[in-house]
């Protein structure tokens, strides 16, 4: 029994950054913009969060809460770059997102050199993040389904021309959604560098951003289902650590398990026709007058 509760708690701890990042991606994808840059934005958020929280190393020079804010800002600003390229310049969303991942990881690695291996004093508790993420999922689900703004966002992702004709600003809605998605990816990064493992190491996001991107499809772009999806993947992470070295199966197989499962799970989602739940205009830049 204790084992089970422990497993669940660890799953929640592992799942929190996944939930935060995938909620952000759900929002920008429901508005019609794919952002494959989650991994990069997470890395930038993790570094920005750590840097501000750490200060110059003397106690009191950093601020945890400002660090969290900085992480959201860093993620959001990086996402605005993606927004500018894909919404204003109408470039391919997939290529731009991939570049953002590479750029984010690279920049974070470069600027993070001086923080490498430094300890953070004063660690924020984990539970506000976990509870906050779950509450946020509920709020977003309600916001999407039952508010005028949520309806507008969904319509922009489904049929931007219909929204445009009614005088709604498709570009502005998409900019906002992409920035929000980036901010949540940044927060997910801050969780990693401040709460989960209070330190900065290059590559500490370790593919979590990609799992978050896949999770969006797995949960059918639904914020509430994202809670269960992220706990599920959190459990896999937990099992991976728990079982390492205890069986005859090589450790590497366990380390690869979450990523292998992403492929399996996406395959299952595809078979179940989950792709049909994708917003109609997902990935397509909007040009007025084109039907």
């Amino acid at each position: 029994m204790d084992e089970l509760i422990n497993a669940l708690l660890r799953a929640l701890a592992f799942g929190t950054p996944l939930l935060l990042a995938s909620l952000g991606a759900v929002i920008n994808e429901r508005a019609g913009v794919v952002n494959l840059g989650v991994e990069g934005m997470m890395a930038l958020g993790a570094l920005a969060g750590f840097a501000v929280a750490y200060g110059d190393g003397t106690p009191g020079s950093g601020n945890l809460w400002l660090g969290i804010l900085a992480a959201a800002l860093a993620g959001g600003l990086a996402a605005l770059l993606h927004a500018f390229v894909t919404i204003t310049l109408r470039a391919n969303q997939f290529v731009s997102g991939l570049s953002l991942t590479l750029l984010g990881l690279g920049v974070a690695g470069l600027l993070g050199k001086r923080y490498e291996g430094l300890p953070l004093t004063g660690q924020p508790p984990q539970w506000p993040f976990t509870v906050g993420a779950i509450v946020l999922a509920g709020l977003l689900a309600f916001w999407l389904s039952s508010t005028r703004a949520g309806l507008t966002l969904r319509s922009v992702g489904e049929n931007p021309a219909a929204a445009d004709v009614l005088g709604l600003n498709v570009g502005a809605v998409r900019y906002g959604a992409v920035a929000f998605g980036g901010a949540l990816a940044g927060l997910a990064g801050a969780y990693l560098s401040l709460v989960y493992r209070p330190s900065w190491t290059d590559g500490m996001t370790n593919g979590l951003g990609w799992i978050a991107v896949a999770l969006v499809i797995f949960v059918g772009w639904n914020p509430l289902r994202a809670i269960f999806g992220s706990v599920f993947f959190g459990l896999l992470y937990y099992l991976q650590f728990r079982l390492q070295g205890k069986t005859f199966i090589p450790t590497e197989v366990f380390s690869a398990m979450p990523y292998l499962l992403v492929i399996v799970v996406l395959g299952v989602a595809g078979l179940r026709g989950q792709q049909g739940a994708a917003p109609e205009s997902l990935g397509r830049p909007y040009t007025r007058g084109e039907r």
């Binding site: 508010t147 309806l151 507008t152 319509s155 049929n159 219909a162 445009d164 005088g167």
Partner: protein, 549 residues
């Protein structure tokens, strides 16, 4: 209610001119719309109707001239500002979010007065939807998903959207092109209610019969200019068509079947339709059965003999197996059972072999099935034979030969295109259809499968398509013509069959067939299951149907 033509128009265009590179789309257009009237806007494709609509709905700004609403000059910068000025558009292709409910679609947009906070927008608008639906007879369930609605219902949602925003002027852009005849009557009922409610309507349609039935006045455009302005009462199909096209148009039966000609007129050539009863059977169908793409029975034992030089029309309400019949014959849909013979030989298998055996196919979806929209006119013309001489030698294509042949065909078929390298996507429907005709009829086909060949085309293009089919029949080709337009079938066919529930009824002699008789058969009334012999005149059918009514 007759509109007061001396009052201030609710919407007026004064001297509107709009130029696009190379064309004057609207040239000094004057147009008035009065309260409580239905105005028809008539014109061929390319006459400038779309530009007029775009100017009124804020999609285009005029280069010169003024738009006045209730006598006040206004600038309509966007569809949203048109809606604010009380001008709504029901577009030809609905602009709705398919995944959302009707209520969600109607709640979208800037907040309407009296809608309260931003919470539960769909619920707040549902009551108003019901109220308007009842008042104007626009039956739609606010909670239904748009993806599950029929084209007619989607149109009602579009109308409701404009009404919710309190429009006074409603522009209906070819609203009947997606509707069944029953739905058209339903739409007209709604239009009459709207008129009674004081709304002004602009009705755009190619179908002159509809214009005569529902409109009060007609404004005709030709080549960007207003060429006619008349009350509908007193106009006729002929007079309207002449205003549109600028010359006399014939609505008479175009096909002369042998029995209509006196013996002395009969040509000795075996290619003329000298005697269709003795001409050799070109296409013989026996007991054809096939499944639709959804796996349901679509053809149930179809039998037909189509003779050389004969045009057989196939009438029927969409979805009764006509598409599958054409697809089976063109090799796109597998046959479950039955036998097809072309000139006494077993039908080839596979679309390419069938075409090479002399079967031309004019598909019903001319844009996506008939052409590759992103490819050039020349490439689309070469789709059937790009890999063969003279267009290719030793596997290498000769683009020069392809272009020069394309230029000849563009001239011969009067395809209006900036050049043979233009993507076919940017051409009008009529010109795309001419590309298909040129490509398919080039090889002197023995059998022509024509599915809805003039659907959505204007009068000029329709006449050209008809002429091409008639002249092919005169040189001895057999034509299987599927159409929903009974006038077209009656004008072109020698015999007409009706498809109902996957069965082919008839064919019946076209000289004796009537719209009423065919209409009854199409609706499934008194079908031939009680053993009407092939070739029986529909006159008998009308009588027997009448007796049972």
């Amino acid at each position: 209610m007759t509109p007061d033509l001396t009052s201030v128009p609710v919407l007026e265009l004064r001297g509107v001119t709009k130029r696009f590179p190379g064309v004057v789309a609207n040239d000094n257009v004057n147009l008035s719309l009065f309260a409580g009237e239905v105005l028809a806007l008539l014109g061929e494709n390319g006459a400038g109707k779309s530009t007029v609509i775009s100017v009124m709905y804020g999609l285009q700004r005029p280069d010169e001239g003024q738009v006045l609403v209730n006598g006040q000059a206004v600038t309509i910068a966007s569809p949203a500002s048109a809606l604010k000025l009380g001008i709504g558009l029901v577009p030809q292709h609905p602009m709705l979010v398919a995944r959302h409910t009707v209520a969600e679609n109607l709640a979208l947009g800037h907040q309407l007065p009296g809608q309260g906070s931003g919470l539960f927008p769909a619920r707040r608008v549902a009551g108003r939807i019901r109220e308007l639906s009842q008042r104007y007879g626009l039956n739609v369930d606010p909670n239904a998903r748009v993806s599950q609605l029929s084209p007619g219902e989607k149109q009602r949602v579009e109308i409701l959207r404009s009404l919710l925003r309190g429009v006074q002027v409603l522009i209906l852009d070819e609203p009947t092109s997606v509707l069944t005849p029953q739905e058209v009557q339903g739409l007209f009922q709604v239009m009459r209610e709207l008129k009674r409610g004081g709304k002004s309507l602009i009705f755009i349609s190619h179908k002159l019969g509809e214009v005569l039935e529902i409109t009060d006045r007609v404004t005709v455009l030709r080549r960007g200019k207003v060429t006619g302005n008349a009350p509908t009462a007193g106009a006729s199909r002929r007079s309207l068509a002449e205003m549109m096209v600028g010359r006399t148009v014939s609505f008479d039966r175009k096909r002369q079947t042998p029995s209509e000609l006196s013996p002395s007129e009969l040509s000795p050539s075996e290619l003329s339709p000298s005697n269709l009863d003795t001409a050799p059977v070109r296409l013989s169908l026996r007991g054809l059965s096939a499944l639709s793409s959804r796996g349901l029975p679509a053809l149930r034992g179809v039998n037909l003999d189509l003779r050389a030089g004969e045009i057989v029309g196939v009438a029927g309400v969409a979805g009764n197996g006509q598409s599958e019949l054409i697809e089976v014959l063109s090799g796109l849909c597998p046959l479950q059972s039955g036998r097809i013979e072309l000139d006494g030989e077993a039908h080839a298998s596979g679309a390419r072999h069938i075409f090479e055996s002399g079967v031309a196919h004019i598909p019903e979806d001319r844009i996506h099935m008939g052409t590759v929209p992103s490819m050039s006119v020349a490439e689309n013309l070469a789709l059937r034979d790009y890999a063969r001489a003279p267009l290719a030698r030793a596997g290498v294509r000769d683009l020069g030969a392809q272009a020069s042949r394309a230029r000849e065909e563009v001239t011969a078929y009067e395809i209006s295109t900036p050049g043979v390298d233009t993507p076919s996507r940017s051409l009008s429907g009529g010109n795309i259809q001419k590309i298909i005709l040129a490509r398919e009829l080039r090889g002197q086909a023995r059998l022509i499968l024509a599915a809805h060949p003039t659907y959505g085309l204007d009068i000029g293009a329709t006449e050209q398509v008809h002429a091409a089919l008639l002249s092919a029949a005169e040189r001895g080709a057999s034509v299987l013509l599927v159409s929903e337009d009974l006038d077209e079938l009656l004008a072109l066919s020698d015999r007409i069959a009706v498809m109902y529930h996957g069965e082919l009824l008839g064919p019946y002699s076209a000289e004796q067939a009537t719209r009423e008789g065919l209409g009854l058969l199409m609706a499934g009334g008194e079908a031939n299951s009680d053993g009407l012999p092939h070739g029986a005149g529909p006159g008998d059918l009308v009588e027997s149907a009448g007796a049972s009514l």
